[in-house]
């Protein structure tokens, strides 16, 4: 996506605006919590080409049927639960670094998304979500009439 489409402002800088604000607010309170646990989950990489966006997220160990993806207006939402291994009698964890529990991640895109053209694939613990800009929300060239 060309930066000129949006003027001087980088729209991708706002993707996690809320997260950053919350982080500043709470960071000091949670200094002793291991980073892996307080980090926003799942981590995403965002790629663009023209009017298309691909959001990739690391979600290892989740049954794809348990990952829910919603799109509305300009927001992509990924929710689900990462199950915990239940301990049987005589079993104990020596180390438990992998994150478990419910997650919810909302990502604001710098345009309205065409909800009819969203595709998601899951492979080897990475989900790949392809999104397109809603046609009507795109830029339209207006012809200037002369000789009125």
């Amino acid at each position: 996506m060309n930066m000129m489409d949006y003027g001087y402002h980088n729209p991708w800088a706002d993707v996690d605006l809320v997260r950053r604000e919350m982080k500043n607010l709470f960071e000091s309170l949670y200094e002793d919590i291991p980073r892996e646990r307080r980090r926003v989950y799942p981590p995403v990489n965002i790629y663009t080409k023209g009017q298309s966006v691909i959001v990739m997220a690391e979600l290892p160990g989740i049954d794809p049927a348990g990952i829910h993806i919603f799109v509305s207006d300009d927001t992509l939402e990924i929710t689900g639960t990462r199950g915990e291994r239940e301990l049987r009698s005589g079993e104990a964890f020596h180390r438990q670094e992998r994150r478990v529990g419910e997650f919810r991640r909302a990502i604001r895109l710098p345009f309205m998304v065409d909800s009819e053209r969203v595709e998601a694939k899951y492979k080897n613990g990475i989900i790949r979500i392809s999104l397109s800009r809603l046609e009507s929300a795109g830029r339209k060239k207006i012809e200037i009439k002369t000789n009125l």
């Binding site: 160990g61 020596h94 180390r95 613990g125």
Partner: protein
């Protein structure tokens, strides 16, 4: 001339779980569970596939390595990044109680599960108390 930013990069590397020059890749998060008859080690290796994972045991050091090819969508430009893509490596010291010939590995949905059975000696035995 010393690299002024070296310590910053080290810190960033540590934050991202990347061991930099010390090891060959990112350090994946792991769960280690012990049961009576076995140890279970579970590692998150997103982006790896079963053919790229190598598990070895030498001198009581269990090493897991996974090669991950950078897979950016063709023709696309990365505009926002929260995770890095690269190889994984992590080692664990396991005691003599592990039977090296019967370690099992199973990979599914980006997660590697290793099952390490204990040798017969270390399984709990009930000792009978004898009387005269």
């Amino acid at each position: 001339m010393p690299d002024k930013n070296q310590h910053i990069r080290r810190r960033e590397a540590a934050r991202d779980g990347y061991a930099g020059d010390l090891q060959r890749g990112f350090v994946p998060p792991a769960d280690i569970l012990e049961a009576r008859e076995k140890l279970e080690i579970v590692l998150d290796l997103p982006g790896a596939d079963e053919h790229s994972i190598h598990v070895s045991l030498e001198n009581n050091i269990l090493t897991v390595e996974a090669d991950v090819k950078p897979e950016s969508p063709e023709g696309y430009e990365l505009v926002h990044s929260e995770y890095n893509i690269g190889n994984f490596q992590r080692s664990f010291t396991v005691g003599n109680a592990i039977d090296p010939n019967h370690i099992e590995a199973h990979f599914s949905n980006g997660v590697l599960k290793l099952t390490l059975p204990k040798t017969g000696h270390s399984q709990p035995r009930e000792i009978k108390v004898a009387t005269d």
